[in-house]
Symmetry: C2
Subunit: 553 residues, 2 copies
């Protein structure tokens, strides 16, 4: 994927790898080196043929890179690679630089007793890890109780070990960081989902994570990478703990699986960014924005040599899916053979489209599809509009509006949340709303009608107020409670009991940025125009008396 980016800029990349390796398949020139990145002579040959040397895997011999660094630019710095490739050294270094990481204990030379001591200090479970050459779950062992200690040592005892305190995380996040000659930039925060210790999915933006937390994750990643020397992109994997705090899990000094989504989702990809960073080409934070929410699904090798091709073929049926196959030949179980990225106007739409592909790869592994979550009273998909009401007595008034939303194919949810009887629930709902699929809220209430006003005070989403005529004052009380909000928190108020207009206003708001919705509204309005014109024609042709009779009046 780095070669794809380089090809578009006509930058020649000399690849050190086996003949006909994936990178060489799409780069036809005679500057490549055949061999292994662990072969000193090959690295030397690569350095002599190139202006800048970079790595796509950190398990490289950094002493070789140190040696060639006098002749050629090496990015990121061999020093950084040396620190990061040893996971214990990496964490120690980050801690020294004031970056939050999981607690860890060195276990080299400490044998089985060392593992038991960790259990006494950290409790169980804890994570036993090889300091080096560990990735995609290989080299890790979850020590669940003292009874596991022997088996853990049996499995990993031949390697340089350390232990990490168990991170009781809610979800995992990751941020791709770009270190340039001028500073440190970050791609958006993504959620990563692992299965069998291998990355399975990434979600951009992360699900049910506030923008504030996502920003904190970017800040932490920026701080961590700012502590290292050299240029290029870095993958920073983090835990979001149940108390909402963040801990660094691991750093990768290279393009990373959690950044594959950037190829489709951002103006420039992590590969574009890596090239630009190591070659001192221009790059700005504005290039790293999310153009559309996106989900990435890895295509792993399955039980048959063509299992990955089956997944790719299935993905071709998915309208918003981009398929990447890496040209690695036949699949081996668990090997990363490619990936699929779905981008869509909302994350909820991307989830709907990705789900059949997740089900497909799960079924390949003999796993039953997970039960779908309940979508409430939404007509289809994740709701874009929430219709909240202070009391179920408002529902009859809302009926006409809900029918309009259904007619115009707008997914919505209906909830009862009273500003006075369930103030905490209203607060919780309103505060979370902007982090969900919702884009507009309609609040219906009668009497003092605080519902939409309070909701608007806790959200940044547009809130439409529908005044409902209650026992007294003919609805005036609600109309005025909604329109006359203090400066700062507007409520978009429509006519008393006019839920049709509340719904149509929600449609207009969605249509401001969704041309398909706008077009459906235009067609609907045109239908109304035709209907009134038809009536006018009848009134003209039949005369007012006949017309009135036909109305039964």
């Amino acid at each position: 994927m780095l070669i794809e980016a380089a090809n578009r800029l006509n930058i020649q990349v000399n690849v050190l790898d086996a003949a006909a390796s994936p990178a060489k398949q799409i780069s036809a020139h005679d500057g490549h080196i055949e061999g292994s990145f662990k072969d000193a002579a090959a690295v030397k040959a690569l350095a002599q043929a190139s202006d800048v040397v970079t790595v796509e895997i950190e398990h490289v011999d950094t002493h070789m890179l140190e040696e060639v660094a006098s002749e050629v630019i090496v990015e990121p710095s061999w020093k950084t690679l040396r620190t990061i490739k040893d996971k214990y050294a990496q964490k120690h270094y980050l801690k020294e630089h004031g970056v939050d990481v999981a607690d860890s204990i060195d276990l080299e030379g400490k044998g089985v007793d060392g593992l038991k001591e960790v259990g006494a200090t950290y409790g169980y479970p804890y994570m036993l890890k090889s300091k080096t050459e560990a990735y995609d779950g290989r080299g890790n062992f979850v020590v669940k109780s003292e009874a596991d200690v022997e088996a853990a040592f049996e499995a990993l005892g031949q390697r340089p070990l350390y232990a990490e305190r168990w991170a009781d995380f809610r979800i995992e996040l990751a941020v791709m960081v770009v270190k340039t000659k001028d500073g440190v930039l970050t791609f958006p925060t993504v959620e990563t989902v692992h299965e069998d210790s291998i990355c399975k999915l990434t979600y951009a933006p992360p699900r049910n994570v506030s923008e504030k937390t996502a920003q904190r994750a970017q800040d932490l990643a920026k701080k961590a990478i700012g502590a290292f020397e050299g240029k290029g992109v870095f993958g920073v994997e983090m835990f979001l703990l149940k108390d909402d705090s963040l801990l660094i899990n691991e750093i990768a000094p290279r393009p990373h699986n959690s950044g594959h989504y950037t190829i489709e989702a951002c103006p420039i990809s992590q590969y574009d960014a890596h090239l630009r960073a190591i070659l001192d080409l221009p790059i700005s934070q504005a290039s790293l924005r999310l153009r559309e929410p996106s989900i990435m699904l890895n295509i792993l090798g399955g039980q048959t040599p063509d299992s990955h091709v089956q997944v790719a073929n299935k993905a071709l049926e998915s309208p918003n899916a981009s398929v990447h196959l890496y040209g690695k030949g036949d699949a081996r179980p668990g090997r990363k053979m490619g990936h699929i990225t779905v981008t869509a106007p909302t994350l909820a739409a991307a989830e709907r489209e990705m789900q059949p592909l997740i089900d497909f790869v799960d079924s390949q592994k003999g796993k039953a599809p997970e039960p779908r979550k309940e979508l409430g009273s939404s007509t289809k998909g994740e709701p874009l509009v929430a219709v909240i009401m202070g009391s179920d007595s408002d529902l009859p008034v809302l009926k006409a509006g809900l029918q309009i939303l259904e007619k115009l194919d707008i997914p919505f949810t209906t909830r009862i949340t009273s500003a006075h009887r369930t103030p905490d629930w209203l607060r919780e709902f309103s505060k979370a709303a902007a982090s969900t699929s919702l884009k507009v809220i309609i609040g219906a209430a009668g009497g003092a009608a605080h519902l939409p006003g309070m909701c608007a005070s806790w959200t940044t989403l547009p809130v439409i107020g529908l005044p409902v005529k209650a026992t007294h004052m003919d609805g005036w009380d609600s109309l005025v409670s909604m329109t006359q909000m203090p400066r700062g928190e507007p409520v978009a108020t429509v006519g008393i009991n006019n839920s049709t207009n509340a719904a149509l206003l929600a449609v207009r708001i969605l249509g401001a940025s969704d041309l398909a919705v706008r077009e459906r509204l235009r067609v609907w309005m045109e239908g109304n125009e035709v209907e009134v014109l038809r009536k006018d024609k009848a009134l003209l042709e039949d005369g007012w008396e006949v017309y009135l009779q036909s109305m039964g009046k």
Copy 2:
């Protein structure tokens, strides 16, 4: 670019072209054929080595393709290529199939007199064209008057000629069409801008063209391509005449320059679509949507061998620009060396970003930059919000709201348009609004206050009503005129004279789909919260009496 798409699906493409040609540079295998697409033996060798043969240029010998079609699938059909490569035959064929094309007259063997006769029939100017081998302006001659006839015949008389009636077009449009085994699909309509008869820019969506017209263009393109045999993508170039009718200009039976924007702007590109169409892989209309508005600028060779590299380097500074260089080596003047695509959340934002690059390529050609068009009272860029008022007497009330829009960096325009004194201007403004950069309208009015309601009746955009307190009734008259709109055309009404809330509601509406705007609003609201908490602390610490004194009350 077709190879890029094929590489990602691990589809081997055998390329018939010179050694080290651009396509071969990114496709390393030994299945390529060296030679020219005009060499019969080479075409035969290509056919023998492949399952499906397709073309990227229509100036191919279709008799060779006809011959190999018995051994290998040829898409699109050689019959289609034979018809389309002769532009006169192409037009004749389209006309026979009921497709609107410019009138044309065959001139083969008719000499200078034939040209004069065309002038007598069509009037001047008219377009003299070579039936074959004409592209990028080569093979065309604009005959402006009878005095040009000799020169025109001198220039093109050796070629098979025909003449076309001059199309007095407002702009040029183009649609990429995908013909699959199951039917005909279309990418969105784009505007194309030509300079020196070579495509310079494409705009998706087209500027100042209604969605209805864009849809008509797609329908016409679909009808035209539906008339031909075979599968693959086709470029359809059209004229949008001043009377809003559409005429087909030319068809290309292959991926086309006007579809390059699809690489970044659509879920699948024209190249993905071409591959899928000729290989019978799945493809759906939903994949051909516009993810973000986009502008494509061709990088043409200039006066120096590296002029294209200079343009590319300049484009790297542009955050939303994707740069494609084709690997053609040194530039020749006018040769297509690459292209740049800018995508952005709005076409206006893409235009702002593309403009410096257009200025750059113009300055390379010694052309002065065009004067920028006036943006009215917008703070920056094309306006997203229009603030319209019935009278300039409403402006003082609007001041606070306009300041909020400026503070939150929302480009807006302010206009005076009275529902009663300038009803036609209000109608014109409202009807056009949805086809501009605008996404929200704020209408301020006092008294009977018909302004926002009438505006809402002529647009599908959300309209915010700001009731302004006039001489009588304390603003109640306006408040009720705006809220109590009939079912069908809602006005989002805020409090009397509360322009702050009208502006903040516009910001919320924009923020519903623009996360950057939403984040600016969140930060602003947080600032208000901090301010009130500060006051509460002072009130608690100082006591109410001191606090009141500090207020000077």
